[in-house]
Structure formats: structure tokens, C-alpha cells
């Protein structure tokens, strides 16, 4: 029974993740169109809703091209390395509390609750950069190589700030288990970490921006930087291999949005309704995550790309000191007993 429940929850959550990723590809095109006074894809299905399906079919039917001189094994390995860690991270995200359906108790709505859930996500999302780097290297193309190089330097720089900011939250709540972090923010809406004076807001802004850099999104998408590098690391990729890179990127975005919600916005806590049933919690969680996902797209179609030196300056000279100071202030708050 326990195994069946786990299987059910896992398949539902992974289905939800893949569905969200697919919908995100559509949302990306739709929102960008709206912001540019266009309509966006509207031919497949009502309002273009089935577009991701059509894209998927197209990706499968496309011819696979392997460039001459590519390192075959690594070339094939890279898309998997990009997609699989990104998909695995969703396992520890707590979507809602206790689920009771038809009088049956299904336990908490998440695949698993690890004591080190936060570390698990950070470690695996750190691994997903290998897909980008190795894909860039194995393609035997200068554009891909440059994309991979940039991705590696960028990821390492911003992962630092990301972890530092997350650590501040860990210090505030005293837990690395994501569910415990959510539980620590229960009660009033002002218990959410984002409402911790100064530290919460600075942390949220830092974390969100570092997330953008970590998932290679605009304005930090140097790995694929179209005007300079054609497509960057995925220039030479086609067909399903390319689709896997895409899937990985959108899954990583989704999980990062979930993580931001959990760390700063109280996870599945419903404002002004403490003992909400699980489906209301799930809805609240979805709304918060949806906002961050929209933010990803929103920012992409608003800001121009940074220059590479600006990215590095920002990462090392602004973000890291501010993140460290943030951590320090959190420590001081805890030592003084104010948090």
C-alpha cells in the first residue's frame, strides 16, 4: 500500500512537472507575444493550447544530426545530464500537507521528505550544468564550446550567492528539510520569511536573481547568447536531444520557482487560513509558483542581456558580498534573539 501510494504520488508529481514544463514553452511564446502586441501561437487547439504537443511530435520526427568530429558518447550523454538532474530535484518539493481523499490517508504531498531536501536540490541543480558544458564541448564547434565555457564560469559564480542566500533561510528556520521550512512559516502571513525585516526582502531579491543566473535565463543566458554564439551549447543539437535540453531548462525553472516559494513565500501556507485542506494548499502553492514562473518570462522579455564582464562583476563584487552580509545580519538577528 505504501509503495503504491508512493508510486501514485511520484507519477502524479512528475507528470505535473513535465506538464508544467510543456505549458511553460507555450506560455513563453504567448506572454512574449502579448508583450509585443502580438497574438502568439493560436492554430493548434483552442487558443494554441495544444502547441506543446505539436512541438513534441515535431521534435520526435526531426532528423538527428551529429556533427563531424563530435565526441559521440559525451555528445549523447550531455542532453541526459541536462534533463535528468533537473527533473530529479522535484522529488523533495513539498506541494501540500496531509492528503486525505475518499477517507484514505495518502500522507504528505511530495515524493519524499529528505532531512537535507534543500541541499539535495542545490546539489542536483549544480550537476545539471554538466549537460551544458559537456554538450558545448562535445559538439566540436567553437560557438558551442564558448557557450559551455561561459555556462560553467557563470554557474559556479552564482551558485555561491544562491547557496549563501538559501543558508540565511536555513539559519532563520533552523531546518534543511523543505517541509520543516514551510512549517516554520505557518500561522500568520507575517511569519513568511520574506517578511523578516530587511533580511527577507534582500534575500528574496538576491535569490531570485541568482536563480535566473543558475537556470541560464535572461538576462544571464550567456550559454546560448544568440547574437554572438548562434545557439551556444545547443547549436549543434537537433531533434529530441535538443528537446531534452529545453525540457531540462524548463524543469529547472519550475523547481527553482518552487524553491523560491518554499524558502521565502511560505510554501503551501495559505494566507489567513491556517488549516486549509490540501487542495487549497496545493492551489496556493501553484499560484505562488506560477507567479515566479511568470516572472521568469516577464523578465526575459523586458531586459536586454548583460555583458559577460558585467555578469562576473555583478556576481563576485555585488552579489557575494551582499549575500554574505545578509547571512551575517541573519546571524546577528538570531544571536540577539530577534528572529
Amino acid at each position: 500500500m505504501a509503495f503504491l501510494t508512493l508510486l501514485l504520488k511520484a507519477s502524479l508529481i512528475y507528470g505535473g512537472l513535465l506538464g508544467t514544463a510543456a505549458l511553460m514553452t507555450l506560455a513563453e511564446r504567448k506572454v512574449s507575444a502579448w508583450m509585443q502586441l502580438r497574438v502568439g501561437p493560436n492554430r493548434v487547439g483552442p487558443g494554441g493550447l495544444l502547441q506543446p504537443l505539436a512541438d513534441g511530435v515535431k521534435f520526435i520526427l526531426k532528423e538527428e544530426v551529429t556533427p563531424d568530429g563530435a565526441n559521440m558518447w559525451i555528445f549523447r550523454l550531455a542532453p541526459m545530464l541536462a534533463a535528468i538532474p533537473a527533473m530529479m530535484t522535484v522529488a523533495v518539493v513539498p506541494f501540500a500537507g496531509q492528503v486525505e481523499l475518499f477517507g484514505l490517508d495518502f500522507g504528505n504531498l511530495s515524493v519524499t521528505d529528505l532531512d537535507i531536501g534543500l541541499l539535495f536540490i542545490l546539489a542536483l541543480s549544480g550537476l545539471s550544468v554538466y549537460g551544458v558544458i559537456l554538450g558545448g564541448w562535445a559538439s566540436n564547434s567553437k560557438y558551442s564550446l564558448l557557450g559551455g565555457l561561459r555556462a560553467s564560469a557563470q554557474m559556479v559564480s552564482y551558485e555561491l550567492s544562491l547557496i549563501m542566500t538559501a543558508l540565511a533561510v536555513v539559519a532563520l528556520t533552523g531546518a534543511m528539510d523543505l517541509r520543516e521550512i514551510v512549517a516554520a512559516q505557518a500561522g500568520s502571513i507575517f511569519n513568511w520569511n520574506v517578511f523578516t525585516p530587511v533580511v527577507g526582502q534582500v534575500g528574496l531579491v538576491l535569490f531570485v536573481i541568482a536563480t535566473f543566473a543558475e537556470t541560464n535565463r535572461h538576462p544571464f543566458d550567456f550559454a546560448e547568447c544568440e547574437p554572438e554564439l548562434v545557439g551556444g551549447f545547443h547549436t549543434e543539437y537537433s531533434s529530441m536531444k535538443f528537446a531534452l535540453f529545453f525540457l531540462g531548462e524548463y524543469c529547472a525553472m519550475t523547481v527553482m520557482a518552487c524553491l523560491t516559494t518554499v524558502l521565502f513565500l511560505g510554501g503551501y501556507q495559505v494566507p489567513f487560513w491556517e488549516d486549509a485542506p490540501w487542495f487549497v494548499q496545493l492551489g496556493a502553492f501553484g499560484a505562488k509558483v506560477g507567479f515566479f514562473l511568470f516572472l521568469f518570462i516577464w523578465v526575459r522579455w523586458t531586459l536586454p542581456r548583460f555583458r559577460y564582464d558585467q555578469l562576473m562583476n555583478l556576481g563576485w563584487k555585488v552579489f557575494l558580498p551582499v549575500a554574505l552580509a545578509n547571512l551575517l545580519v541573519v546571524g546577528a538577528l538570531i544571536a540577539l534573539g530577534w528572529a
Binding site: I116, L119, S125, G126, V129, L134, W137
Partner: protein, 188 residues
């Protein structure tokens, strides 16, 4: 089940470690090293050290190996035959050197394991008290041994700075070396 996983992970990390040395392609070496680290992370996990496993993946897998890859990719990776024109040891020296290193490693291992009888896998894979070893480690690192720990980090930093300084000086020297620009122009 745990035994099986342990042996698989152990075999993986040992084979990958071998691969690091054997592989001719530096990028493949780095990948092998990554595989080895991941195998070790699995062993940590099996031993109940969740935190250590995650940190292993996060720090070694996510950051350090990425930097390795970064550097290796920046190198000019031409024909491995050409690259290997100056091997560390030649002919017989290579064999004796390798044997020497292996013997030294064996000696270290034997010394380290002296007095600890080879226990069955389960006894040390599932320590009593779950995560308590983690607390012990934290106390040791940030309490009793905080000074040596910090000293080690300063030492590492000094090493990094020293390497940078050495590498930098070499490069400037090469740049100063007279470039036969004028003679080339004359020939043209």
C-alpha cells in the same frame, strides 16, 4: 540490497578512478573523476551520512569539477600524441614510479586500517543514532579543531595565490621573449 548497492558504488568509484589515470582525453578524465566522486557520494549515503553525500555532490560535483572542466576546456586540446611529448617518467622509470606510488598507497592504507578488524558491511553502514555523527563532525570542525581547520583553509588559499603568481610570472617571461616580427616582415 544495501550490500549490493555498496559494492556497485565502490566498484564504480574504483573503476572511474582507474579511468582518470588511464584515459588519454583530459575531458574524459574529468568525467571519470566526477563518476568516482558520485560513487563515493552514494557510499556516504548508504552509510547514513546524507549531509556528507549532498555536500560531496554539491562541492566536488557541482563546483570543483566544473572548474576542472573549465580549465581543461581552455587548454589547447590537440592530438594527445603531440601533447604527451614530455612525459613525467620515461620507460622503466614510469613502471617503477607507478609501482612505488602503489606500494606507498598500500602502506598508508595498511597503517590506517591497523587495529580495525574488517567488519561486515552493515555494522559500519548503519551507525547507531542516524545523523548524530554529523553533529559530532560539526562539533569537531567548528569547536575543538576550529583553529587547525581555519589554518588549513588559509593554507589552501595561499597555495592558490602562489600558483597564480607562478603561472603569471611564466607567462610574462614568455611574452617578453623577443618576437621575430621584423625578420618576418623582411622575409615577406
Amino acid at each position: 540490497m544495501v550490500d549490493l548497492l555498496f559494492y556497485v558504488a565502490a566498484l564504480l568509484s574504483v573503476l572511474c578512478a582507474l579511468g582518470v589515470v588511464i584515459s588519454e582525453n583530459p575531458v574524459q578524465s574529468v568525467l571519470m573523476l566526477l563518476g568516482s566522486f558520485l560513487g563515493i557520494a552514494v557510499i556516504y549515503l548508504l552509510a547514513g551520512f546524507q549531509f556528507l553525500a549532498a555536500i560531496q555532490v554539491l562541492v566536488y560535483g557541482g563546483a570543483i569539477m566544473v572548474l576542472f572542466l573549465f580549465v581543461v576546456m581552455l587548454l589547447n586540446l590537440g592530438d594527445p600524441e603531440v601533447q604527451a611529448d614530455e612525459p613525467l617518467f620515461h620507460g622503466r622509470g614510469r613502471v617503477t614510479g607507478g609501482l612505488g606510488v602503489a606500494l606507498a598507497a598500500l602502506a598508508v592504507l595498511l597503517t590506517a586500517s591497523r587495529g580495525t578488524a574488517l567488519a561486515p558491511v552493515e555494522t559500519y553502514l548503519w551507525p547507531e543514532g542516524g545523523l548524530d555523527p554529523l553533529l559530532g563532525m560539526a562539533e569537531a570542525m567548528f569547536g575543538r579543531y576550529v583553529l587547525p581547520f581555519e589554518a588549513a583553509s588559509v593554507l589552501l588559499l595561499a597555495t592558490a595565490v602562489g600558483v597564480m603568481a607562478l603561472a603569471k610570472r611564466q607567462r610574462t617571461k614568455r611574452a617578453i621573449a623577443p618576437a621575430p616580427l621584423e625578420s618576418k616582415e623582411a622575409a615577406a
